[in-house]
């Protein structure tokens, strides 16, 4: 399988501080790759290196199978990006902002109207960007990234500062792009719920290292509910369950099982009762993705 983006042992130091260390990204065509991590984990630094804005301290980056250090310009001709806060020229109108970029990219003028239509800024096209709300500036940034119909779109926290309806709008737009235009999208965020609703593939960074990279389904498996049993003599209960061929876990005086069908729960209760153990509580405990995310990135927590 061909990778659109592939990095090998990508690292970046700022002085003594190691911002990114040995990241191996693998992103296939048509994917929406969610790049997750707490603030300051190295997401933006990685994205800057992907765009050739920063030089890696070590490691290689290949985009479209080409080395970014050698063929930066050819690669960037097919990459659209929005890095961190949107950049714009406040003294120019939305249309002029896009025109300044269009001149460099060399795409037809009609494309400006198209992208303004896509992000719904058509009415504000001839107003100065100075007076735009943050959401409008963000959408202008996305319009700029879409201007040359790139094969790869890199969006760093694109829903920052948007109101709920703006977030939904952008989310729908991002989901549409791979289907309609065959784009591959990298989208970074510190909010898992956001990525959960868009991404097909997920990469999680913490303290500069990639700690998880797989499909969103794999990630969701971590979020399976577990069933806990509180009983009168839990150790004895646990042993008898094992004796009956039920693989349960025992921890802190509680028996718990992962992935439990209704029949299985009934069977367990039956076994326990037959052993003369009183069953006090049978509870289902749901683990949210947020919890898993926090667990994975534990140690990063500041509050």
């Amino acid at each position: 399988m061909e990778y659109i983006v592939q990095t090998q042992n990508l690292s970046k130091c700022f002085g003594k501080e190691q911002a990114v260390s040995n990241i191996n990204l693998q992103i296939r065509k048509g994917e929406i790759y969610g790049f997750l991590g707490p603030n300051g984990a190295g997401k933006t630094t990685t994205i800057r290196m992907l765009l050739g804005l920063m030089k890696p301290s070590s490691g290689t980056i290949k985009i479209f199978q080409k080395d970014i250090m050698k063929e930066r310009i050819q690669i960037l001709a097919n990459v659209g990006s929005l890095v961190e806060n949107p950049s714009y020229y406040p003294h120019l109108t939305a249309y002029e902002n896009l025109e300044a970029l269009r001149k460099i990219l060399g795409v037809p003028k009609a494309r400006i109207d198209e992208v303004l239509q896509i992000v719904r800024l058509k009415e504000a096209a001839n107003k100065k960007v100075k007076g735009f709300s943050l959401g409008m500036k963000q959408r202008l940034g996305i319009a700029a990234a879409l201007l040359h119909n790139p094969e790869l779109l890199i969006l760093d926290e694109p829903t920052n500062g948007l109101d709920p309806s703006g977030i939904i709008e952008i989310r729908n737009l991002i989901k549409r792009l791979p289907k309609e235009y065959g784009m591959t999208i990298i989208i970074s965020s510190h909010l898992l719920s956001e990525i959960d609703q868009m991404a097909t593939q997920v990469g999680i960074v913490s303290k500069g290292t990639l700690i998880f990279q797989d499909s969103i389904e794999e990630m969701r498996k971590f979020a399976q509910p577990k069933v806990t049993f509180k009983v009168s003599n839990s150790e004895k209960g646990w042993r008898s369950l094992l004796a009956n061929g039920i693989r349960a876990d025992y921890h802190d005086g509680v028996i718990f099982l992962e992935e439990c069908s209704d029949e299985k729960v009934a069977h367990i209760v039956q076994v326990l009762v037959q052993e003369g153990i009183s069953v006090f509580r049978v509870e289902e405990e749901k683990r949210s993705l947020e919890e898993i995310f926090l667990q994975m990135t534990a140690g990063e927590l500041t509050i």
Binding site: R48, L51, G52, L53, M54, K55, R72, I73, Q74, I75, L76, A77, V79, S81, V83, E84, N85, P86, S87, Y88, Y89, P90, H91, L92, E96, E99, A100, L101, K103, I104, L105, G106, A144
Partner: protein, 236 residues
């Protein structure tokens, strides 16, 4: 690629007052002499046999100041367009080389500077003719006094653009610019090697062409140093 970048850069300087400053500089320099000659024309004409030469010298006494000050303001405005919302990252993530981005900025500024010099020549000639300074009109001298200071000021342009585009704090290039103006104002006492003296066209050999050649040479050198440093840096 350069052509595209240049047209984009000319679009970006719209409504930023750069064109206005380009016009204001030469108007200011000639306007000062309008006051001077308006008040005491008869006295000034008695000072020298060569009325045109004396008039050009008077004009030239303010040209270096206007150029040094103008360069500091123009470069700072130019860099602030990209610095304001850190548009550098957007610009450099486009399929363009960093070298051409820098060259484009430098070229726009150089064009504005030479446009200003041309306007200075036109205004000087017009006012000189209005004053009826006599025949023949020294066209060659006029052109020299208009373009030589700008050419001699190229190192200042290269230096200021370098500082303005690598410093996110625009206070630094402005400070350097202010010192430059002070230096230019005290050209008489400065040693010949100071780049801020060169637009005054003074040197110990009394040969203005030396300042022009030094200006172009050192200007190119400082430009190369600036562009290498600019390309080397990470974009934050």
């Amino acid at each position: 690629m350069m052509g595209k970048l240049l047209t984009a850069d000319f679009l970006k300087i719209k409504r930023k007052g750069l064109w206005f400053l380009t016009l204001l500089g030469p108007i200011g320099v000639v306007a000062l002499q309008m006051v001077n000659y308006g008040v005491r024309k008869d006295y000034l004409l008695q000072q020298s046999e060569d009325d045109w030469g004396y008039f050009l010298l008077n004009i030239h006494s303010f040209t270096p100041l206007a150029i040094v000050l103008g360069i500091a303001i123009l470069t700072s405005f130019m860099a602030s367009i990209e610095n304001e919302t850190n548009a550098w990252k957007q610009l450099i993530a486009l399929p363009v080389s960093k070298l051409s981005v820098y060259l484009s900025k430098f070229t726009v500024l150089a064009i504005l500077l030479f446009l200003s010099s041309t306007l200075l020549m036109i205004f000087t000639l017009s006012y000189g003719l209005f004053l009826n300074l006599g025949e023949p009109v020294p066209y060659l001298e006029l052109a020299k006094f208009s373009y030589f200071p700008a050419l001699a000021a190229l190192p200042i342009l290269a230096l200021q653009l370098w500082i303005a585009s690598v410093c996110h704090n625009q206070g630094i290039p402005i400070t350097v610019g202010i010192f430059g103006v002070i230096f230019a104002y005290s050209s008489y006492v400065l040693p010949d090697w100071m780049i801020w003296k060169w637009p005054s066209l003074m040197n110990q050999w009394d040969e203005p062409i030396i300042n022009v050649m030094l200006g172009v040479g050192i200007g190119i050198l400082l430009y190369i140093v600036g562009v290498i440093d600019f390309a080397r840096r990470d974009v934050k």
